[in-house]
């Protein structure tokens, strides 16, 4: 459950797996509502709904070795593995920690972070200022920043080095900890 005790969580966190949890919770809710509805019909009419009888007849013809049974059991194995994978895989943290001088602080504990999206915007913004860069896009993971630069310059490696140096200088000034590795790729655009 989300906290209701008015205490803080860490700002830097792993994905909460909201999407698979929402899907599974809707399925559980639907099954529960369905069972209640069937029970109400059974109590009102004195017998289970007719469509359940048709389902029962079909299931009664199934054997364990039939193709459908094999397919359903393998599908259950696949679904179980997917859910376990969603639960186990940590995922990328949403933010990177900033190292800040604690002098002047009035708190027992501190946490300063910058979201990965913001680090990407900052890196792309600084890279865009380098002469020769036409456009740039940045992707940030917790330990690596990948910059894709479009330029009309044929001096790709020199431009890549300049962009990398400029972005590294900017990010060192921000105080990212740990400092991600920066990789820049320059694509020359034909006029």
């Amino acid at each position: 459950m989300s906290r209701t005790d008015a205490r803080s969580n860490k700002l830097r966190r792993r994905p909460a797996r909201t999407t698979p949890a929402s899907i599974v919770s809707v399925v559980v809710l639907a099954v529960g509502v369905g069972l209640v509805w069937l029970t109400v019909l059974r109590l009102l009419n004195g017998r289970w709904p007719r469509f359940l009888g048709a389902v029962h007849e079909w299931l009664a013809t199934l054997t364990w070795g039939s193709t459908i049974t094999v397919a359903i059991s393998l599908a259950a194995v696949a679904v179980g593995l997917i859910l376990l994978f969603c639960a186990w895989k940590p995922g990328q943290p949403n933010a990177i920690v900033l190292h800040v001088d604690r002098s002047g602080t009035t708190a027992e504990s501190i946490e300063f972070v910058m979201t990965r999206r913001s680090v990407a915007r900052l890196a792309a913004g600084r890279a865009d200022l380098v002469d020769g860069v036409d456009s740039v896009s940045a992707t940030v993971r917790s330990r690596r920043i990948t910059l894709s630069v479009k330029s009309q310059s044929e001096q790709r490696s020199q431009l890549a080095d300049m962009v990398t140096d400029r972005v590294r200088e900017a990010l060192q000034g921000v105080g990212l900890q740990p400092m991600p590795k920066i990789t820049t790729t320059v694509h020359t655009q034909q006029l």
């Binding site: 949890a21 070795g65 002047g104 501190i110």
Partner: protein, 205 residues
């Protein structure tokens, strides 16, 4: 800033995933005729279905016609429905802000109650006056004796972020500490960068 139910989600996904996986593995072993061989090889003498046997036994219809089973199905539906609904509601992100602070030492002398949003409005206004800050939002959690401040500041990409963070500590948080007359238990700041070049009253050229 808002809090989500990450731990709850991963725990339930693991439990349900494990149950479904085990059920699927057992069903697949029976369907492929391997379970009987495995049981024999281990030396367990339990009777297991073979590939030619029916999935549903002949007495299933009569079993589900018993009144106690009908009620049990209904109860199971209610339980699953409540669990599913509670889990779905837990996906809503919550601010989880502090309740109004009681700022008195002795209740016999009178009550002083201060809502957390009164303090956070002041903190936000204070933070937005700092150079480079386009927007700020704050949440106060904890208690009057151990407050916890979480601040999100949106800055442009030319802001001196280290200087800003120092100012937030030494000025903004310090003024809150002075107002509440107690040090912060925890200070958390999230910095977001915007590519916008203007705030309400400043343009960065």
């Amino acid at each position: 800033m808002r809090q989500r139910s990450g731990l709850l989600n991963r725990a339930w996904l693991a439990v349900i995933g494990l149950v479904v996986l085990l059920a699927g593995i057992v069903a697949a072993l029976i369907a492929l005729g391997l379970l009987a061989r495995i049981m024999t090889a281990i030396g367990i003498g339990l009777a297991v279905p073979v590939t030619s046997s029916k999935v549903l036994g002949s007495g299933v219809g009569a079993f589900f016609d018993q009144p106690v089973v009908v009620v049990a199905v209904g109860l199971l539906g209610v339980i699953l429905g409540v669990i599913g609904l509670a889990w779905l509601m837990a996906q809503i992100p919550r601010t989880n802000a502090a309740k109004p602070f009681r700022l008195q030492d002795d209740a016999a002398r009178g009550l002083t109650i201060c809502r957390a949003d009164v303090l956070t409005d002041a903190v936000e206004a204070d933070a937005e006056r700092l150079l480079g800050v386009a927007d700020a939002s704050a949440v106060l959690r904890g208690t009057a004796r151990q407050p916890e401040l979480t601040l999100k500041v949106t800055v442009n990409d030319r802001t001196d972020i280290q200087r800003l963070l120092h100012s937030l500590q030494a000025e903004t948080a310090a003024r809150l500490v002075s107002a509440m007359e107690t040090p912060l238990k925890h200070l958390a700041v999230q910095v977001d960068v915007t590519t916008s070049r203007h705030t309400a009253d400043r343009i960065t050229i």
